[in-house]
């Protein structure tokens, strides 16, 4: 039986197919009745589902992250597509086609990983190359990087999103850096690699991405510096001392990449590489998040999305 991806579901459609239960909440309405709010997901997006007249028994019959078979009907409510779910049932993972649920199939993961290995391996600066190898050779690090998200909401908020954003930014750096001879492109590429690594500890990726205690108390910028420091200690234990100034520049690239104090950057960029990293990061993140706003918009009015408070505007959805 053919599954319709969430992104292709339309209003008023009967649905009988598999989803991933990304989140579930048992709620009480004002009159005291119980219902379940589901966040249903597949590779193409997410969909809110309402299961009325529910109880604890149904709620406990599946867990967050399980695959579930749902019967229901879609509708537009408050400008967003949702599904009235009349039945939900836990599925055996073996029953589902994994490629329909994971944005990153093994191939895509492999491609990005290879690209990362190539970019770091191709560096001429021996210290950066050794440091890169220390990260690449850390199996636990790599296995977490493959599944890490870059955000809870907004841009690249899906497993593998951190790897994609990281590699994309490294490639942008490789492309743009050489246009400005005064920029040290290798430093820029390595900064792109490092800049968001702290998110591996800031976010927990079990089920939906969410903030860890450490993430909220310390934040990915400081954690990123801690991860770099630890890896430099590893490199130094096996090689000569890491150059002091190069280390300061790497730390600065992490510390300043938010670009402005009001965005939680403890330092402003003071090197051309830090400045460029901040702007390219911003560009990639904004294009990704604006694209998501456009793609996930369900406004009936054909040319414009609904007003989006996070970006303070409506976006134009091109005809043609």
């Amino acid at each position: 039986m053919i599954r319709t991806p969430i992104s292709e579901l339309a209003d008023g459609q009967t649905v009988e197919q598999s989803f991933r239960a990304a989140d579930k909440q048992l709620r009480v309405n004002r009159q005291g009745g119980k219902y379940i709010i589901l966040k249903l997901a597949d590779r193409s997006g997410t969909l809110s589902g309402m299961l009325w007249n529910a109880d604890e028994r149904v709620f406990d019959s599946f867990d967050r992250g399980d695959y579930v078979f749902c019967i229901g009907r879609t509708q537009i409510h408050n400008g967003a597509l949702q599904m009235i779910v009349t039945e939900v049932q836990r599925m055996d993972p073996a029953e589902v086609e994994r490629s329909e649920f994971e944005r990153f199939d093994a191939d895509e993961s492999q491609r990005l990983r290879s690209q990362l290995v190539e970019l770091l391996g191709g560096l001429n600066n021996v210290h950066l190359r050794q440091l890169g190898e220390a990260f690449l050779g850390d199996d636990e690090f790599m296995s977490r990087l493959i599944v890490g998200a870059a955000a809870v909401t907004n841009h690249h908020a899906y497993p593998g999103g951190l790897l994609r954003h990281t590699v994309d930014l490294m490639e942008l750096a490789q492309l743009v850096g050489p246009r400005y001879p005064q920029i040290d492109t290798e430093l820029l590429i390595f900064g792109a690699f490092l800049h968001d690594l702290g998110k591996l500890e800031e976010l927990s990726c079990e089920g939906e991405a969410s903030y860890t205690d450490r993430g909220q108390l310390v934040g990915h910028i400081v954690i990123g510096v801690q991860m770099l420091d630890e890896k430099i200690r590893t490199v130094e234990s096996a090689n000569e001392a890491f150059p002091v100034e190069l280390r300061l520049q790497l730390e600065h690239l992490i510390v300043s990449h938010h670009g402005h104090y009001e965005f939680g950057s403890p330092k402003l960029p003071v090197t051309l590489e830090a400045l460029t990293l901040h702007h390219l990061d911003n560009l990639d993140a904004k294009i990704e998040s604006y694209t998501t706003v456009i793609e996930s918009d369900v406004a009936a009015d054909g040319n414009w999305t609904n007003y989006n408070p996070a970006i303070g505007r409506k976006l134009w959805k091109k005809r043609d």
Copy 2:
């Protein structure tokens, strides 16, 4: 005799050579004595010159923009290099080597112009290509574009700076656009071409770049739209009507390229192309202006520039 470029002059050096008198002012000190402040320029930069005990006769012996032969001695004053000029004399332009004074020699101009022709000529969209041809075929426009500056101070503030910034940005657009399939790269390239054209009317480039009345009263954003409108009328008189929606998108690219209301943008970017144009423009302008801050800095303290109020920080000057 070999001329030392301004950028290579050091403290305490005796100077006897040609300069361009970019600006001159006759001033009175508190006690009533007169002196002349010169802005001396060559291809590599500018230098402030002080001619003490001057009078109207000396002041009137040369004009802004003239080449002058100066005798004097350099010194650091308030952290900046300047020259105590003891003699200044108007030169015949035939006496100077033009390539020492013009940042854009004929070759560089030609290269950028060819690049522009190629970029606009290579567009597949027939309307954009016709519109590009209308600009390229307007001799007066092209001759002004060759010598226009992109700013009075800050980035690309020299004759030809507008052309360089425009072509650089078009090339960035051509490089970055294809990485995001959801972006219409041709539209982005054309927006890069249009975005600052209003500066041809906003700035007057006789002698030093300065604001025109129209520039201060109306501004390059609105002027740019007026220039586009005029050129579209030209195209429409010779061809079919210009597509309404394409025109609105081009106008929007000009109108929103400052990105934020507080930077004088009457509209926020609401298309992916406008968003990307704003960020790439910002990136190119910031790299250029930070580079200028670093290059023109004379702080003795080796690793850091002086505090620069315009960018709100000191910059790190790498030891390499």
Copy 3:
């Protein structure tokens, strides 16, 4: 039968009378049931109407802008008056008394139009007078001006609101200008005429006022300059060239009338006329919108309106 104006309807009242259906939306509740939200309007204001248990057939039985006969009962919900509509039926426009629905009856329209003709015709400056005549003589322009709104929400957000705001501001200019001899009152009056004309293209007035694509992509400030430029071309084709400096000042009055960058003004006012126009425009708009907040408030607490987030405060409602 006597109709009760919307502004005089009270809580808990049975209603059986005509309205204009300014807007209608078919919605689905969380359980999947359908209902219609109506925006009912007459000359005195608007009222939200809820028609429960509706379906497509009822929804399609009338169009936005139609006159409808409604049966229902008013109530206060979330601090605002609304009507539970039990029946809605399309009416023949011939059945309604137009003066009960149009804020501008023919007389008021005529009065404002005459006032506009008189103000523009009374100008001594021949260039301004000819330009004014070009606008007044453009029938399409005038017919749109009569019905244009000045905003989607906030101040003067009704058909004819633009004409009222324009003429009111011109009269304020005529009153206040002569108190400051350094101000060119004719320029100020003409600036008041021009300042919001771009809203004729920014807003669409079919049914409820809403933004056009051009309005959102380009904005009424730039559109206003385009309209001025076009009309100056008309004047110049019939007369001598329009004085360059006068034109710049008119453009500046449009371009700077929002007064501050953060309100989307691409230029700050730099002439006394532009400064004064900005302040008088602000005064007239604020008085109008605060008055609307007070008049449309339904808070039970007698002396104060509810907190209004748009203006960041509660307003005092005088006991008299």
Copy 4:
């Protein structure tokens, strides 16, 4: 002998005439030499004077506020006209023509005072009229109002400036109020009268206007309420009790007239009269201060003033 008003002095002119010594300071230069900086004033403006090689004897030979006879020569220094004074001598006040020094001759004072009496006397509200009479009948208050300034710098910063600003604003209120039937014009006029009275205590007008301790510690807004309270006590001791609500509204007009928290307004305007008062006050103050910037500008470049940091822009000086 004919005196040239300060506003008509030009560069390079020999001067031998009377001035008012508005201020004087004995300074030491970096090498240890002493000189005097004078602020010379007449009705038309002020002029900075430099007396080199001075000593305590010269400095003590006249006081601030004295009329002095100066010999010297004008020059432009740092873009402003100043005078190199070679001789300064104290004059007998009887020797000078007072009308050349006082912006307010007796006639102008009398005219404004009469206008004030008429505006307050013409009020129909008996409580406001009695309160107005209490102020008008307070001789000490009136004699201070005649000579008070409205500011130390910026707008209306001269003796009598407070009276002029007050009466001008009351007249604007009388003109604009009736255009909005929802506004209580008498309340608006009385608010205009009260709004800046606290400046009589905030500023000291002996010699140049300067802040008093009370002005800096408490401020004219709170002082103004204290003055109103005291006067209401006076009225109440002779009449019936002053209506509570009217009093609150008057206090609110004073308390909120700065309009925004960031301008030191402890409350935002919440009545239409307070809103209108704030905007008219702002309009009158801004026109006055922009006019002063234009009139006192000495930039050689004909069309534009120098950049003025207080208003964040250059102003256009019309060619007429």
Copy 5:
């Protein structure tokens, strides 16, 4: 029968006990049905109660502030605990145990009052001591101070909260002042006493705390100065004149205690005492309000409160 304090009620609990009906509202749902929203209170906190299918008769059977006996069941709705009330009945105050409802029993009130008397009585400065006695000897003032709240929401928003905040701040002043010899601790203590007294008039404490007309039109800062002025007149009528400078400093302490213009402070602190008062006030208020956020949070996620928009963050709830 033992009453469970509100703060100890859990989800899904049956409740049959007394509450104070702090507020009640009769609402209409979208379909036209009526229901009552109750704010139930006791000493430990407040709880929202929903009484469905209500009518005017039930609504009128008790008043705001009455004690009521409620039967119902608790539940979590939208992340907050509420109670579905099925029965509500007015109680005779004699039936309830007052100490379960009043945050301030007589003992606590007495303790704070004694502490206040001791702090003011212990001042060495005779003028401050006399002024303190004038306040303490004003019975009406004291009886209102005992029951005043310090805010409508946020910190110390309960009867007696003003007294607690005032005494707490005075004690902080007594503790911290002596650590800085340059600070006049007695002035600081007296400023702490005065700083929020205007809230006695700004807020009405009948039933729930709410703003008075005077509070909204004039504000507690200006009212506080009026109260001080009145009391100084009392002191002066019985003693010698109050020292001018001391009075200005007291007024300044009130006027500047919000610390920044944008928080409605008409003056910035310019004395060390005013600076310190502002910071200690801020510290005490913030600790109190963050504590309330943590205590009243019902988020299921153990370590963090829900996001609180007023403070712009989630707070960490320690596991200990």
Copy 6:
């Protein structure tokens, strides 16, 4: 011979005594002449000295940090006291009385150090006590802490200033913490100890305090976390593992102590201890810096300091 402390020097005084040459700069005036600017220091403050007609020989005859014997005369220039130095001569350190130059004599240093030992040693939490001992037992750390400054300008900008600020803040924490039972006072005290330790690396204290490269690239907040991490590794190598949650809270105290994003805080305070630490730190720093502004002010006008742009106001200087 008796030395007059800098803070007691008056205008027009002849000076012949020892100073510490805190800084020296060889400058060129506009005419090309050379002079030396000295920063002369002693325990009581600093004084600018001008040595005219100097040359390299004089400049090289002493170093920054040397004691010098100066002959000269004081004067007020631009509102600040300075000295015209006519002779400067290097002194043997043995010739000077060290207690006249060091703000921290051995006794004061010893007292603060003992206080620190006592505060850390008195902690009941074994992990905090062990961690404190690790810092106290690190001789290099302690010897740098004794001489560290807390800032380059502003508050506590002198050798030993960091120790004083740290101990003062710890004592404030010990005083204020127990007033709020919900606060963990030991955690607060330890946070006070840690919060600025990163300044030991951020600032270099040879001669005048100045920023290090690491300080500018990484900043004292991130450095502070690195120092903590290193010390925890030390503790863990000798003891059991440090509790994870306690470590996160300590890191959070450092990371959030600037309190607001715009002050370079990468995280907002989310625990009561972090909130309190931020406010007490702010209080102590502000009192110290306002005190310095008042003490170092030389305005002739008795009651007020000059306008200080860093704090945006004038301060009141109390009489008596």
